[in-house]
């Protein structure tokens, strides 16, 4: 039985909680802008005045980076990996086991609240201005917008499942440095957040295409700039849906194992 009101309350409280940390909003936004400028300039240099590279125009590439930075702002406003690890280590998550709610769902809804707050107060204003003043390629077809929003949402869920599951692995590991390295490497490179998959060497591109990370940034970005178009959109969203199911099952498995094997520190 799914208790909507309860999880809705988590989202609401989390929204309020984000409002407490206004400085956090501004510093996040600041670093988002810095990364945007950095990757924008890097790609400008890489294109070296050419109109297109690898069949993709400079304008489309710039749009890809802007959309990608927007989505990484959205994804970054959820509970970060280190915080989940911290909550496992301090036993906070273990204590939530004695509450009558589902822990992974509770965190997902809390993330909805904080992401929504960050979106309306910081991300939307900034990116709306960017889209007005920069020469970017914006889809005309409302269906493309719809497909993009849907793909971005599924991407958010995939990222959530992976980040939460990786964080919960702390229950089984004493040292989590390795997990962090894998996670951040995959998030920055294999997801296509800063380099689109079409620029990858063949072997790396096919490696990435067998992994869930492409669903987080690459697919929604590429749909937005029209690099994934027509029937490909359905296939790509199909791939995303496949991965959201797989990562969700993975998260459930890790959570089940973890809650069975909970060892509260200093018990």
């Amino acid at each position: 039985m799914f208790n909507y009101r309860l999880y809705w309350t988590f989202a609401k409280k989390s929204f309020l909680r984000s409002a407490v940390y206004r400085f956090d909003v501004w510093s996040r936004l600041g670093s988002n802008v810095i990364f945007l400028l950095m990757w924008g300039s890097i790609w400008t240099v890489l294109y070296a005045g050419r109109e297109e590279a690898g069949g993709v125009s400079f304008q489309a590439m710039l749009t890809y980076i802007v959309v990608s930075q927007f989505l990484s702002g959205v994804n970054g406003a959820g509970t970060p990996l280190w915080e989940i690890q911290e909550k496992v280590r301090t036993g906070d998550i273990s204590l939530e086991l004695m509450r009558p709610f589902d822990v992974p769902l509770r965190y997902l809804f809390a993330d909805f609240g904080s992401v929504f707050f960050y979106m309306i107060t910081a991300l939307m204003p900034l990116y709306i201005i960017l889209f007005f003043f920069m020469d970017l390629s914006i889809p005309n077809d409302p269906l493309i917008w719809l497909a993009f929003l849907f793909a971005a949402f599924i991407g958010f869920l995939i990222r959530y499942c992976i980040e939460m599951a990786f964080g919960l692995l702390t229950f089984f590991l004493v040292e989590t440095g390795g997990v962090e390295d894998i996670f951040y490497f995959a998030m920055s490179l294999l997801s296509g957040s800063v380099i689109p998959l079409w620029f990858f060497p063949g072997w790396l591109a096919s490696f990435a295409s067998y992994l869930p990370f492409q669903g987080i940034y690459y697919i929604p970005n590429a749909i937005f700039i029209g690099e994934i178009a027509g029937n490909q959109i359905f296939t790509s969203i199909g791939i995303q849906l496949f991965w959201v199911v797989v990562t969700y099952i993975f998260l459930r498995l890790v959570w089940k194992k973890a809650s069975q094997k909970v060892v509260v520190q200093g018990g």
Binding site: T9, F10, R17, P100, V264, G267
Partner: protein, 339 residues
């Protein structure tokens, strides 16, 4: 009617052995050796509805581990637990609705938000009806003075306020059972008193079963009729507090610093049980001899530089019971078996 049944409860933790140095670390990568820590060895007891039981033991005795098994956070390695007819770890969420838990060492409130927000969240979590929520909030506000700080973020509350908020939060959903893990730790005398009064009242008026762990003898004396003593994961005593108090409450320890210690100290009706460079620990039963009686005896042969009389503390009582058993007790202390 037993509301909590614990039988032959056991909990073992596997702890990875860590070897020092580079080679040790390398070895650890390939093969890990574990040693087992028996946090709870074999504990049985039952608690009746409406009872208030002190669950007492020194640090590391297994108190919190037991509480965590009763709440369902830990799965026992052996034995059985039943709380209000439910096996906690098998049906954690159903069990959650029957229990309220307060951990003195950590808050369960939402750290960054005004206190009231945590209460409202708990109202949703436990699906408390609006009218019941209001009733409870009114009662708790009145007794605990929550209105002083209800709009202050939890992180800005004093420890006393935080504990009051925490205990109110644990009772919002009218649980029949309340677990209090060191609820008065770190509180000043006034705040402790307020806490105790509140616990007493809800136990009496709502017939809530309370299990209380604490290191504060006052807590137990004021709140509980019965106590379960555990040490090294095993039950040492289970019965009335009055019995223990009668037996050990009469024992006093006198600590004296003496100027010279060439002549041995011989005393009647009192014994020296520890001696360290001029300092003597003397134990006596205050029914046999008064403190001044002991002091008079000492001054006949020695010069006293300094002295203190120590009250028996729960820690020392426990360790004495554990080390010495119940030898020399005129009336044997009944050890209730977990029937």
């Amino acid at each position: 009617m037993a509301i909590i049944e614990v039988e032959h409860l056991m909990k073992e933790f596997k702890i990875a052995k860590r070897e020092t140095g580079f080679l040790g670390a390398m070895k650890g990568l390939v093969k890990r050796e574990f040693h087992t820590k028996h946090a709870v060895k074999d504990i049985s007891f039952t608690v009746d509805k409406g009872e208030m039981v002190g669950y007492i033991g020194p640090n590391g005795a297994g108190k919190s581990t037991t509480i965590k098994m009763l709440t369902g956070i830990l799965v026992p390695s052996g034995g059985t637990v039943k709380v209000n007819g439910i096996v906690p770890y098998e049906n954690r969420q159903a069990n959650a609705k029957n229990i309220g838990v307060v951990f003195g060492q950590r808050t369960q409130l939402w750290w960054d938000l005004p206190t009231i927000e945590s209460f409202e969240l708990l109202k949703e979590i436990y699906q408390v009806s609006h009218s019941r929520y209001k009733e409870n909030m009114d009662t708790f506000t009145e007794i605990l003075g929550l209105d002083e700080f209800i709009n202050t973020p939890v992180r800005q509350l004093s420890l006393g306020q935080r504990m009051r908020a925490d205990i109110a939060a644990s009772l919002l959903h009218d649980p029949p059972i309340l677990f209090l893990d060191e609820p008065t730790i770190g509180l000043d005398v006034v705040a402790k008193e307020r806490m105790r009064t509140f616990i007493k009242e809800i136990n009496k008026e709502r017939d809530i079963t309370v299990i209380l762990t604490t290191h504060d003898m006052e807590d137990i004396e004021q709140l509980c009729q019965r106590m379960v003593l555990i040490d090294h994961g095993q039950k040492v005593y289970d019965g009335e507090i009055a019995v223990v108090k009668n037996r050990f409450g009469k024992i006093r320890t006198l600590v004296v610093d003496l100027e010279q210690h060439s002549t041995p100290l011989t005393l009647e009706k009192a014994e020296v049980f520890k001696e360290e460079t001029g300092r003597y620990w003397i134990r006596f039963n205050r029914e046999d001899i008064s403190a001044s009686g002991v002091i008079t005896q000492i001054t006949q042969t020695h010069n006293i530089k300094d002295l203190t009389v120590e009250e028996p503390e729960i820690e020392s009582i426990i360790s004495r019971i554990y080390q010495e058993g119940f030898d020399g007790v005129e009336q044997p202390i009944p050890v209730k078996s977990g029937s």
